[in-house]
């Protein structure tokens, strides 16, 4: 996965459950909403970078 540049990430909270439902991330310069699904390539890369200490997902506002 050598083509995905992630510069920011923040959780989105589900209004009903109150739990995190998505990650709002800036990927290759574009704001995207990424589901918490390991089969999603963007989420997989976000978590790889988090585990490598290269990225922090901010809590929802």
């Amino acid at each position: 996965m050598d083509n995905i540049n992630i510069t920011s990430a923040q959780y989105v909270v589900d209004l009903i459950s109150g739990g995190n439902s998505m990650v709002k991330a800036t990927i290759d310069g574009t704001e995207m909403f990424v589901p918490l699904d390991p089969a999603n390539r963007h989420y997989a890369e976000i978590m790889r970078q988090v585990e490598a200490g290269e990225l922090v997902i901010a809590e929802a506002e």
Partner: protein
């Protein structure tokens, strides 16, 4: 090819298990480009134009990617994937690489019996054209087990379409996951630094050794405006290449939409009067909409909202100012549009404005 030879090949294809749906590659004729035909120039590669095919690695600079209206004459193809280096990379770094890749789900490859004693051979056929002649490397990469096999082929004439046929043996090691994840990646190398070329080309299935992956690869993008074209990609079970299995645009689009889909303002003749969706306000200024996907997707998709949308309630309207995706499933997204007009518990709807789009991305 004689009729007798064609019949014999069809007989072999039947013996290998298929006369229809032989081609395991999606969009092999490069017909579908939902992101646009381009040309798109950027330094990050990835999926930019033709569906299901991406440029991985960029040699450290920018490529221009395009769905080109350039295809081998008399072949029945009309489009190709074009990767052009506006500025040549005459001295790539050791870690540089550029390669076109398409990836396949493991659950669609179980008939290869990979990782078993009965593993079967597969045959690839494709058309290529390049400015730079010489040896190029074609690689099949097992994403599940980090195994690979490479084949060298020659492009003998500059700027001339050539058809290549490559058969690779079955791999008795490394079972492919029976899931929706990427299990095999098909790789056309265009250029590679010494990290990938300093070893000996790996011509049988083995655990991946980086230095052996592209040994012998010519630098196909050494000079300004060097370009590489690809089309007519077919992967079929067995050791026989049959004629390309042409599919209709609609069939190919539907297959591609499992991985990516987009709706945009310019898709509609009447533009603004097409509603994105109908929703309900959950509170002052917030409208929630279910956005249906055009096809069930491979995984829960990444959703991107671009441009401005118009929220309407009764006879009034307001530009949305802050849009959020609350959640996604394999077949829909819940989008919240912030606006200045809707009252609590009101029905409302949303229209595209000029330049706006909604994309769902579940690519491998």
């Amino acid at each position: 090819m004689s009729k007798a030879r064609e019949l014999a090949n069809l007989g072999n294809a039947y013996s290998d298990g298929a006369l229809s749906n032989r081609n395991l590659i999606i969009n092999g004729a490069m017909q579908v480009a939902q992101r646009g035909a381009g040309p798109f120039t950027n330094a990050s590669g990835g999926y930019q134009t033709v569906d299901r095919f991406q440029l991985s690695g960029t040699m450290g600079g920018s490529f221009t990617l395009e769905q080109a209206s350039d295809a081998p004459s008399g072949s029945g193809f009309s489009k190709s994937f074009k990767a052009l280096a506006p500025t040549g990379f005459s001295s790539p770094t050791s870690s540089a690489s550029a390669k076109i890749i398409t990836s396949l789900e493991g659950q669609n490859l179980q008939q290869l019996l990979k990782g078993t004693a009965d593993a079967v051979s597969v045959t690839f056929s494709f058309w290529v054209k390049a400015v730079v002649t010489g040896t190029y490397i074609f690689e099949v990469y097992d994403d599940d087990n980090n195994r690979t096999i490479s084949t060298a082929y020659s492009i003998s004439a500059s700027n001339t379409w050539e058809k290549k046929i490559i058969t690779i043996s079955g791999d008795t090691s490394g079972v492919l996951d029976n899931t929706n994840g990427s299990s095999l990646s098909i790789v056309w190398w265009i250029g590679a630094g010494s990290n990938f070329t300093s070893g000996t080309l790996n011509t049988s299935w083995n655990a991946t050794v980086t230095a052996n992956r592209a040994a012998g690869q010519v630098n196909g993008v050494a000079s300004n405006n060097d370009a590489f074209y690809l089309t007519g990609v077919q992967l079929e079970v067995g050791d026989t290449a049959t004629p390309f299995e042409h599919r209709s645009y609609g069939q190919e689009l539907a297959r591609c939409q499992r991985y990516y889909q987009v709706q945009r303002y310019s898709d509609y003749d009447d533009n603004e009067i097409v509603a994105t969706g109908v929703g309900w306000s959950s509170g002052l200024v917030f409208c929630h909409f279910k956005y249906p996907a055009g096809a069930t997707m491979r995984a829960r998709p990444t959703c991107t909202l671009s441009g401005d949308f118009l929220v309407l309630e009764g006879g009034t309207s307001s530009d949305s100012t802050e849009n959020t995706v609350q959640g996604v499933s394999y077949s829909s997204a819940e989008i919240r549009f912030k606006n200045s007009i809707v009252a609590l518990n009101s029905a409302c709807w949303v229209r595209y404005k000029s330049g706006s789009s909604i994309t769902l991305d579940a690519e491998l």
